[in-house]
């Protein structure tokens, strides 16, 4: 897996990525995912990452990108007819 932009988050990121990949291939793709067992690891990773994003001013850039992305969400999240 790839590194984090914040080296201090690499360790927890790797643990989360491995957990996710297992969940994705063994549960999500088979349609048997009932819960997200990687959530606790993600929370740890997110906590570490969000500090780094804030310190680098990336959090405000992200706000804009999310605004610009709304139409993609509308198009690709819509239920199948």
């Amino acid at each position: 897996m790839s590194a984090s932009l914040a080296p201090e988050c690499n360790e927890v990121k790797e643990r989360y990525d491995n957990c996710f990949l297992k969940w994705y291939s063994e549960k999500f793709l088979r349609g048997t995912a009932t819960s997200d067992e990687c959530e606790p690891l993600f929370k740890q990773y997110e906590q570490c990452l969000s500090k780094a994003l804030k310190a680098r001013g990336i959090d405000t850039m992200l706000k804009e990108a999310r605004e610009d992305n709304r139409e993609n969400d509308a198009e690709h999240m819509r239920p199948k007819r």
Binding site: M1, S2, A3, S4, L5, A6, C9, K13, Y16, D17, F20, L21, Y24, S25, F28, L29, G31, A33, D36, F42, Y45, E46, L49, L53, I58, M61, L62, E64, A65, R66, D68, N69, N72, D73, H76, M77, R78, P79, K80
Partner: protein, 198 residues
């Protein structure tokens, strides 16, 4: 605005491609050294549609030529915001990416899709890529055109490298899964290994 479009096929099932896609920029890919980091910002499964939505932030080493750097302002890394949507019921991955760096001057919007190939849905996967490139530097049409043209050419060069690199990841991934299955088979057949597992 300029448009870049291409499509290609991978000799792997959609399940393999969509799984390996998460590893595309990892150490198995030697063709994308410009991707320094890939961070996941959020991940949710929509309770109504079952679609997995992921937000990622991709950090790249800047490799633009000097003349573009001089116009747009020098920075050594660039950031890309990506959202992806995986619909496992209809076997479709859609990825939408946009540039966060230089976004006041240049807009690059890319959409990629992975779907089972219609000719061999269980063995092959079709990849479609489309990018829209728009430069907005005031009234300087010539500069706008040059920047857009350069960006389209970069997409063309990267498309071939991207496929080569992803093929490496797919091959390694298949090997790793085969080894894992073999280990599991041995474990189930061997008492010692079974006990070791405990």
């Amino acid at each position: 605005m300029k448009i870049f479009q291409q499509s290609t096929e991978f000799d792997y099932s959609w399940e393999e491609v969509s799984t390996s896609n998460w590893r595309k920029y990892g150490p198995w890919n030697e063709k994308t050294p410009h991707v320094i980091a890939v961070d996941t910002l959020s991940r949710t499964v929509d309770p109504n549609t079952g679609i997995l939505r992921t937000e990622r932030l991709i950090t790249c080493k800047q490799s633009t030529p000097k003349w573009i750097n001089q116009i747009l302002g020098g920075q050594d890394t660039s950031l890309v915001y990506e959202t992806s949507y995986v619909d496992s019921a209809s076997k479709k991955v859609t990825m939408c990416a946009m540039n966060m760096t230089w976004s006041d001057l240049l807009s690059v919007r890319e959409t990629c899709m992975y779907q089972p190939s219609s000719a061999a849905p269980d063995a092959k996967t079709q990849f479609i890529q489309r990018a829209e490139i728009t430069a907005f530097c005031g009234g300087w049409q010539k500069i706008k055109n040059s920047i857009e043209q350069f960006t389209v050419e970069r997409f063309q060069q990267n498309a071939a490298k991207g496929k080569e690199g992803f093929e490496m990841v797919l091959e390694m991934s298949r090997k790793a899964f085969a080894e894992q299955r073999e280990l599991l088979r041995l474990q189930q057949g061997s008492k010692i290994l079974q006990e070791a597992k405990l």
